[in-house]
């Protein structure tokens, strides 16, 4: 991975700060993610990982600092624009559209890359029908990609936990992201499921999508990520390759609480 050191930057976080009342959730966090890498973001509970995600995807407005994505600054407080620019995410506590089928969930993901409006829907003109067919085909392909194609017509809420995680990834991929942000995708998974997930994430990167991964499973992160950043009490401790991070005294302290 050393050879990629000069690869172009996809995302730059510059001094991102966020506080809730008296709690400083993020203290001037700066980090950079390169195109094509799997970037791990780890840290103890409450270190600010998910807050960082929420700032990045526009759900929170940072108090200070900001992001440069793909060469352009990201607007704060505009989640739908983050998706439009190419940032997709999953949620720590899975957020699917429960009463819609798995297929429909992925089809919703195509929203931002398609354009049919009310008039098109009512008139059902050729362009709308073609777009609709393309949306459906792409959604089916993505269900195959995450290997839950046989659950296509089931309601999302009736899927097993592991399948729901996969469906959320498929829905995020449907937005054609440049950067896929996964918030603890392995949480609650057993060994087999985690191994399958590792393969899936590796495949997503091979197919050209940069991955930002929040994860508690240190083994998974160290085995999968090209570079890792560690957050503790909202501050960046270190950002480096896994081999260096693992041996860093501050990281060991943060995790062991020594």
């Amino acid at each position: 991975m050393r050879g990629r050191a000069m690869a172009e930057l996809l995302l730059q976080a510059n001094n991102v700060a966020k506080h809730f009342g008296g709690v400083q959730a993020l203290r001037d966090v700066s980090l950079s993610i390169r195109s094509g890498e799997i970037y791990g973001l780890i840290g103890p509970n409450g270190a600010g990982k998910t807050t960082f995600f929420n700032c990045l995807t526009g759900l929170y407005i940072p108090d200070g600092g900001g992001f440069v994505f793909d060469g352009q600054p990201l607007l704060a407080d505009a989640p739908h624009q983050a998706a439009e620019r190419g940032i997709a995410r999953t949620f720590q506590n899975i957020r699917l559209f429960g009463n819609m089928t798995a297929l429909e969930n992925v089809m919703v993901g195509r929203h931002v890359r398609t354009g049919a409006g009310v008039l098109g829907a009512i008139l059902q003109n050729a362009a709308t029908r073609a777009e609709e067919a393309a949306i459906k085909q792409r959604a089916i392909d993505l269900l195959h990609y995450v290997r839950i194609e046989d659950r296509a017509d089931d309601l999302a809420r009736n899927l097993s936990y592991g399948d729901q995680r996969r469906l959320e990834i498929a829905r995020a991929l449907a937005t054609e992201p440049k950067l896929l942000c996964l918030d603890e995708p392995a949480a609650g998974m057993n060994h087999t499921e985690t191994d399958e997930l590792r393969e899936l994430i590796d495949g997503i990167r091979r197919d050209g999508t940069t991955v930002l991964l929040i994860e508690h499973d240190v083994k998974l992160v160290m085995g999968l990520c090209d570079r890792v950043a560690v957050l503790d009490y909202g501050a960046l401790v270190i950002e480096d390759v896994p081999a260096v991070v693992q041996k860093d005294q501050r990281v060991i302290e943060a995790y062991l609480g020594a």
Partner: protein, 356 residues
Amino acid sequence: MSKWLNPRSAFGITLIVVALLALPFVAAMGGQAWVRILNFAILYVFLALGLNIVVGYAGLLDLGYIAFYAVGAYTYALLASPHFGLHWPFWVILPIGALVACFFGVILGSPTLKLRGDYLAIVTLGFGEIVRIFMNNLNAPINITNGAQGITLIDPVAIGDFKFSTTSQILGISMSGPQKYYYLLLALVILVIIINLRLQNSRVGRAWQAIREDEIAAKAVGINTRNLKLLAFAMGASFGGVAGGVFSAMQGFVSPESFSLIESIMILAMVVLGGMGHIPGVILGAVLLSILPEALRYGVGPIQMAVFGKMLVDPESLRMLIFGLALVLVMRFKPAGLWPSPERKRELSDAGAGNG
């Protein structure tokens, strides 16, 4: 498409079409009043389908929907009555009514974008009352709505010399005013059903459902929730506006009394009781809830006389009692509505199995 060529469903559809075409003549045997009841049933189907976009698809609880109906009705009344001396043709006014109602939909929608559930219900409820009170009081200093007296002598729907209000001979068949309105309403409501169905399985319809299911997740996949919620309000309101225009023309008279809170609640009950977000369910709910009180009006008195030999309970109160009881029972035993969408039905039975 091949589904439509299936001979069995083709036969079913033919049967439904024949039944719908014959219905006003069957109803007329019981008197023209029954044809009017049918017309109102269709008008309620129209309204319920409009509200279904807001409540069923986008999941925005709207308790002031009748306001848009009122706006449409008054738009028609003001532009086609001696009140201002204007007599525009209905096919000009109906789109104007839709646009004006749409405008009011956006006005209601914009301040409520961040509200959901109970909070939204309260704001929309207030909006509905505000519109009614305005209609009641806009007779001074300039007389716009004629206040509580309402507006009378509204022009009926007419195409050239063909008036919908009077009896006329068509192909040798004598058709009364209400019967003619029935066919007009039927044509309009079929159009609304087609629009609803097509919206449901479209990019916009899915985005609405996504907002209903999880607004944050919807934002995260790039849905502009603000615009789409406004769109839902605007679409629902336009349907209400058109329905109001037809109501105005059919009645020949509008007053603020017709647009009280209970009407909003009734339409919402039709949507919920029928099966939120499921078009056949919403239609069933609207037909039942508009016809049941009328059927009870005619049925309760004679039945009491037959069973007890005298009037034990005032028919009017008994009617509402039975009606209320029916609502409670349906919601108790069919919480997803009388005819929920297949997915939703499965979900509820799954939940039941999980508890047992």
